[in-house]
Symmetry: C2
Subunit: 361 residues, 2 copies
């Protein structure tokens, strides 16, 4: 039942937490942070509210960017553009939004909603639909509660837009993804218009607060010259997987996604071993050279710079960079049959079944 | 200032004329004819009206199918589906359509509007936006008069749809084409909502009557055991290019289009010579074995079965089929700088400039 105010300086911690929980993907929140800070400086702080304080008939709308993070960073929207997708959805629905929502608690999309919230004066709910970042738009708790992604607006910075109405959230993903590709690889979207009542059932709660707390932890540990890896694994019930240097990275932008595989050469206790991590925007599966699985989707694979302790996104990975990889258990609702069908290894083409982090190794 | 009524039996001639003017593409109008006949039998005949009889503030809407003709024929819509794209556009505009329009005078899209007109009771204007068939949606006279293709609705038979708003008609084509591909290669669309006043300026007039006349000519000639090639070239100021047998055909469905090249071995006066015709849904360029150009877009390249005299579409071309190819001059407005930019050889990737049919050979 607590609301809190987010000013320009608070965005530092939220962006840092978003970069960590972005599991390598979702785009560098640094850019979103700058957008949010500019909007907050111009319009004033953003109020983050508890979902239980939202009226049942309120119109709640997630706003975000979709596309390959590698492209998003080069095609950065201004606050006005992010706002346009929302405005077009409001025009289509014939109703103004009451509350904004983060579709994911990670990456650029954990900071862009702050820019829109500041510009519109609307509150942002403390929660999201993933508890991390995922690459496709149907991969949210809302889908598990049968909430349609449509009507959805997709818009580009040139002035093109579409209102999509689809028979399923997977179909929405398909029709939106192909337009994202045409629009140049990244687009702004407003989707999953939900009532307050629906949001109370389906939201993954307090993840915006969590991002802030994680970001503050990272900043504190860095100030004390400690790598935040230990404190974060302890706080999030996770596990350090390995520390290693990037020795190879294969990345392609295909079908509107940044896909690839990064290979690490172990350091310290893992010296002499090789590790690989696959990604589709986000890190999906980590394994060692014997093929033994270390962590797999929907559990989180998070990367910290082994030296400075800052979160590392896939587009920042480069030859020679030393990284500590962490495994973090996913939100409980993902570790269900329907959750695994939506975001488990099988969906991404892996033949192995999901094994929870703490049952591995 | 004349309107006329089209009953079920009149659809035979219109479909035949549409197959001829479809220049090999646009889909076999036979299927659209069956749809139109079923709708006319159920709801009564369609009234075709002159554009000058339309009120200046009337809402006029072209309805059609987009995609690869090869796919359209396997994913045939029922009248209800074609109607849905119109209904969704009407809902978006908050206004009912007053008049329907053929986007092209050729192929499936010269008959589908009759099915929708019969089902809705709306009149169909005597004219179209191409005077033939073309593969992309910006290739219409409406574009030359700065009429936007959007808001445009694209819908599939499963229940998915989008309302597109784009900054140009080329952008509309891109955003609609990618969704057509996702929807399975063919989709139903309602686009270019225009006022009666706009339509009077931009419509290519009386082409529906022309299709009917061409179809009746083909039927008459066939009844008299004559091939209609001579009568049609004379009526349409065209030229017989050659008669030949198909000896090779290369076809692919790429990017939502049926593309390819057909090679003919000449017969009769052309015996011993080889000819090629390239197509992207429609026939684009005909040349002989020396590379000499015989006819090129936007002029029409039309195919008649050398034996039976019936129009032949690209998907009907097969090894051994004997075909008479005709060249027909395009509508005057295409043979302008802006027209050639939109639909001339350069747009389709050819290096040669447009040379009108009667200045060739």
């Amino acid at each position: 039942m607590s609301s809190f105010s987010v000013g320009s300086s608070d965005m530092e911690a939220i962006a840092l937490g978003g970069a960590f929980m972005g599991t390598g993907g979702g785009g560098d929140p640094y850019i979103g942070k700058l957008m949010a800070q500019a909007a907050i400086t111009e319009h004033g702080p953003v109020t983050v509210i508890d979902v239980d304080d939202i009226a049942d008939d309120a119109l709640c709308v997630p706003v975000c960017m979709m596309g390959a993070p590698t492209v998003m960073l080069e095609k950065l929207p201004n606050g006005q553009e992010a706002y346009q997708a929302l405005q077009k959805l409001e025009a289509y629905l014939g109703r103004r939004a009451d509350v904004l929502v983060c579709i994911e608690a990670g990456g650029l999309n954990s900071t862009i909603p702050f820019a829109v919230a500041a510009a519109t004066g609307l509150p942002l709910v403390d929660g999201d639909g993933m508890g991390r970042a995922f690459p496709e738009l149907q991969m949210v708790s809302f889908t598990m509660f049968d909430i349609p992604a449509t009507p959805m607006v997709i818009a580009d910075e040139k002035g093109n837009s579409s209102v999509i109405n689809a028979i399923s959230n997977r179909w929405t993903e398909r029709l939106a993804r192909c337009q994202t590709v045409e629009m140049g690889g990244a687009a702004l979207v407003a989707l999953y218009p939900t009532s307050g009542a629906q949001l109370k059932r389906s939201l993954l709660r307090r993840t915006v607060s969590l991002l802030k707390e994680i970001g503050e932890t990272i900043a504190c540990e860095r100030k004390a010259n400690r790598n935040p890896a230990d404190t974060l694994t302890s706080r999030l019930n996770g596990r350090k997987l390995f520390t290693g240097r990037v020795v190879d990275i294969d990345r392609r932008t295909v079908g509107g996604f940044a896909r690839g595989r990064v290979t690490f050469k172990g350091m310290d206790r893992s010296a002499g071993k090789l590790f690989t991590v696959d990604f589709q925007n986000e890190f999906l599966v980590a394994s060692d050279e014997t093929g033994a699985l270390l962590t797999m989707t929907p559990d989180l694979i998070c990367a910290l710079d082994a030296d400075g302790g800052l979160p590392v996104t896939t587009e920042q990975l480069r030859y020679g960079l030393a990284v500590t990889m962490l495994g973090i258990p996913c939100a409980d609702f993902w570790a269900t049959d329907i959750g695994i069908e939506l975001v488990g290894p099988g969906y991404f083409g892996y033949e192995h079944s999901y094994v929870p982090l703490h049952q591995l190794g």
